[in-house]
Amino acid sequence: MVLSGVGIGLRQEHWSVLPTVERQLDWLELVPENFVACGGKARRVLGACHERWPLGVHGVGLSPGGPDPLDSELLSGLGRLCDQLGVDTMTEHASWSRAHGRHFHDLLPLPLTEPAALHLAGRARAIRQALGRPLLLENITWYAAMPTGGEPVMTEGDWLTLVLSEADAGLLLDVNNVYVNALNHGLCPEAVLASLPLERTGRIHLAGHVERDGMLVDNHGAPVIEPVWKLFQSALRRTGPVPVLVEWDLEIPALDRVLDEADQARAILLDVANERARAASPKVS
């Protein structure tokens, strides 16, 4: 199932209205853990959405970078769900959540070192092989640089480049995360963006954030801000057209408000596509 255009997340707050919405919506992304082994109303809503839109999945529970063995039961459930929905690509995060028998229920950063990159890459390969489909890994927000134990530190761009090349995986580029990380660590967002392996981008995420105690926190609970829209436009100019998702996961507003954000993303997507078309067309003197 090929995704294109701009989608939004399938969230329970919108279950009752989404299947009959009349505004433009190009695709939907779901958190697959919420739908493994589901039935009843969840299955009916998912079925109704599946009839109308292409679906993508975005996993949050696999702990790709963790040290504990991968959860084979969860992997099996995710594989079955992807098969049922005709989803051809899995997405997860360049992070870890579970270690030494404890799940932390969050997306935690690894040290930006070569051994950690190779560790994550090896596990990402295992996930890709187990699911039998391509894998995109998302650049996460990291609020602190994890200590490296004396290993040389890499830039985030070099680290992700190594991870994705070794894993033979694609990049799920979260533009808001680029912005939040850059500002939190005193870097230029455009420079951070340029350092990422953008040629591997298979999908883009957009979201809002908040400021707390002098730090930007990626909470997915606010509109996308203007600098992130501009960074998104800049990213698209480098990646070309890829499926785009607007995420709104906290203090979720009415569906129309989320679709307004999707419309704005679509307008930028079209602008950049037109720019590229004009640039590619022969000039008439």
Binding site: C38, K41, D106, G122, Y143
Partner: protein
């Protein structure tokens, strides 16, 4: 599916960072073990505090009545024993869970409360009731695992919505009032949960309503209630029917 053995520095990282994130070691100890972070200590502490907050919020979402009583024991005539923060932290240290679903985080919470002799008796029963309500509501939604990331970074699991509904369905204020009333003297507090709607009703039944419930359940013989006035018993039964606690067929709701 084969996974490579992690490099020694990766093993060392997890060996040290898990106790730190679990609140068992300090920033200084982490720095001594793994070298300093390029980020200031407060940024590392953000993660330690975030992990503790995740546990508190997940448990509060699943066990709102227990959290209310721990936070405000005076409302039910109890003395302060511990804080929700401390209780959550002690619980997860004793019962860490590897399951990816936050809904599984509190599976052992009733058992843990039961074993804590310093806590008021009855909390374990309330916690069990909360788990039953959670299970019923996930079944009602048709979802096997309503999981949730409740941290700032990770809200996409569905427990946030689920527990918002749970909180609405759970009569926190009403239950507190009834428990407070109970604390002033002996009283029966009836918490009724109706399937499949998940509606919760709280009632302090008077003696006639208790008798009517007993009759409706079939556990009490009418002859045993001979001294009770028939019309007041009928009124009580009517009130219980109106509340949806007894249906006309005579079964207990």
């Amino acid at each position: 599916m084969s996974e490579p053995d992690p490099h020694a520095s990766v093993v060392a990282f997890f060996d040290r960072v898990v106790p730190f994130l679990s609140g068992q070691t300090t920033c200084e100890e982490l720095a001594a073990q793994l070298g300093p972070s390029r980020s200031p200590p407060r940024r590392l502490l953000f993660y330690q505090r975030l992990m503790a907050a995740n546990v508190r919020r997940i448990l509060r979402a699943v066990f709102p009545v227990v959290a209310d009583i721990i936070a405000h024991p005076e409302r039910v005539g109890l003395a302060t024993v511990t804080s929700w923060e401390r209780l959550s932290s002690d619980f997860i240290a004793a019962h860490p869970t590897a399951h990816w679903s936050p809904n599984a985080l509190g599976a052992a919470f009733p058992e843990y409360l039961e074993a804590r002799v310093d806590l008021p008796r009855g909390l374990a029963d309330l916690a069990t009731w909360c788990l039953q309500l959670l299970a019923a509501r996930t079944a009602e939604a048709g979802v096997g695992h309503l999981a949730a990331g409740v941290s700032a970074a990770h809200h996409r699991f569905d427990v946030a919505r689920l527990t918002a509904s749970l909180a609405e369905a759970t009569p926190g204020a009403a239950l507190r009032e009834d428990l407070a009333a109970a604390a002033r003297g002996p009283a029966i507090v009836l918490v009724a949960y109706r399937l499949p709607s998940g509606d919760v009703r709280v009632l302090r039944p008077d003696p006639f309503e208790v008798a009517a419930l007993g009759l409706a359940s079939g556990e009490v013989d009418r002859d045993a209630l001979g001294a009770l006035q028939v019309d007041r018993l009928a009124d009580a039964r009517g009130r219980l029917i109106a509340l949806g606690l007894i249906i006309d067929a005579g079964e207990c709701g």
